[in-house]
Amino acid sequence: MSTVGGLEHPIDPLADAPPEGWVAGRSPWALAGHKLVRNRMAMAALAVFLGIVVVSFMGPFYADHIAHTDPFTSQLTATTVINGKRVDVLQQGGGVLKLGETPIGPTWQRNYFLGADSQGRDVAARVLYGGRTSLTIGIGSAVICSLLAVIVGMVAGFYGGVTDSIISRGLDVVWAFPVYLLAISIATVLLTQGLTIGPFSISASSLWLPTLIIAVIYVPYVARPVRGAVLSVREKEFIEAAIAQGASNRRLIFNEILPNVITVLIVLLPLMIATTILTESALSYLSIGVQPPNASWGTIINDGQQLLYTRPWVAIAPGIMIVLTVLSLNVFGDGVRDALDPRAKLRVKD
């Protein structure tokens, strides 16, 4: 019979009301959740992140109903109204030499709020659409990476022996391979033709391509801690008890070990998303990530490089979005870690 609050209050399962002095037991999850909710910094960071997600996914609404513009087609002859006067979006003879075309700067109005890029497209609308792409790839690749890492880490940790050494050596090699160089190798090979394995084919301009590449390169960084957690859980007495009860391997893995390993993943996930978003932006900046016509924060910063001195907002705005997103994820991730695993020294490498 279990006791709560000391031996003097044994719980009688037949009693209707809990006895005097009874304290409701809380699951570790509830305790962690409570601790997280009370962490004001972490909650503020979560609010910022969710705000960015909501605003980014409102991109199409903003483009259609507020700015009335299509941020993906060239608008070389478009005009807009400033202070009652109609002006060209691409102005002739701007800059020091009074030659060529300069896109309009920030109007701080409904359309062209942050100005236009070199093709006359609305930067503010593009930043929102770009955010949608960056966030989708960042979250998608972090989730796919975690799934792959759980499979790899679980197999290595659970079966041990030769299986474990082969997987661990393989992970060590990928770990030693700098992530960006690995991503560059895979991306350049797949960039023009896409990927075809059996019946599955992914076109070169699909967002799945950068998502999968980023997911794969970070697998060792998540699989290692998962394997470590599996190894330590495996030695616990409740596993021995389950084996004594005749539990199958499947039950051991899914019902006994997995729930105890999932903490590692939850702690890592926000930090992983922060890392994958930064990686996506870097690859897109190098022109091997998101391909046109799609845009992401990284590709917009790349577009803005040519306009840096005349129209700096094209590059500044997506950068600020990246910093806010990644910063909020890092702060929130720290909060999650403090709540679930205060002694952990886990760190996602970037």
């Binding site: 090699v173 391979f177 990927l195 084919s201 870097a282 190098l286 910063i301 700096p312 910093v323 490498k349």
Partner: protein
Amino acid sequence: MLTFVIRRMIATVFVVFTITVLVFLIFFHTPGVDPARKLAGRNPSPETIKAIKHQYGLDRPLPVQYVILMEKLFITRDLTSYSNQGQKVVPEIVAATPVTLSLVLGAAVIWVVVSIIMGVAAAVLRGTIFDPMLMVLALIGISMPVFWLGEMANLITQDRYHDTFLFSWVPPLGYTPLTQDPVMWFKHLVIPWLVLSVLYIGLYARVLRADLLETENEDYVRTARAKGLSERRVLLRHTLRTSMISFVSLFGLDFGVLVGGGALLVEVVFGLPGVGLLTYQSLISLDLPVIMATVIYGAIFIVIANAVVDVGYAWLDPRVRPA
């Protein structure tokens, strides 16, 4: 110590070998991709493709193909670029290497020196405004894309504030070799160095501060104080040396990340003609032989650098040697 060094060397050779195999498989045996066509660059003629098939032995067994590629990369060093009219790739990389080394070594020096000073200062001044400041710096450091920070630095130093006394000394983007004009070399590199190192300084200073505070409570520190050593000597000779251990091991990992990632991006932003910019230009023209060579040389450099850091780590901390 010698056993450790030898064992570490064997492991390094093994890792280098597997990395080259991995790169070979990615470039030559990704399902559904014709390597000869990819190597030939954009819009190749059928003759070029045929020549490449023959040159790389693509109709021969896998191990032979691997050996041919390694021979081209490391022994005859006659890997040629097809997009760039038969330009030899390896000499091009060798010529670009001093620029990249100048960038990463300079940044590493600033990163290590400044974060040690700040870490020690934070430990001595614990409980003051310095702590939250350092935390903010660390958080911003890990949250900011390095290429964006570089562009913002360019915007400020090259354009908006270039005409003020603060940044009028900053030369236009580019590079001057150290042997040609050391002062100009320094002026060109100082902003890229700062951009690259600022990402790590806050984080490293915090790691060092935490370790210093932990080591403070060790018995041997008390013993050192009891012997009557000065506070400064206790800090520098007893506490700091032990606290450097996790700093050094982290540095080994991050230095590789810096060379393979941050340095590449910073070279692109600042127009420094190093291996990173070379890689970027070949990414634009999809010049596969160059990309393949820079990836392999870069990865090998990083693996060796990691091994050197590990040996330094073992020298600092005898406990890791038998591992």
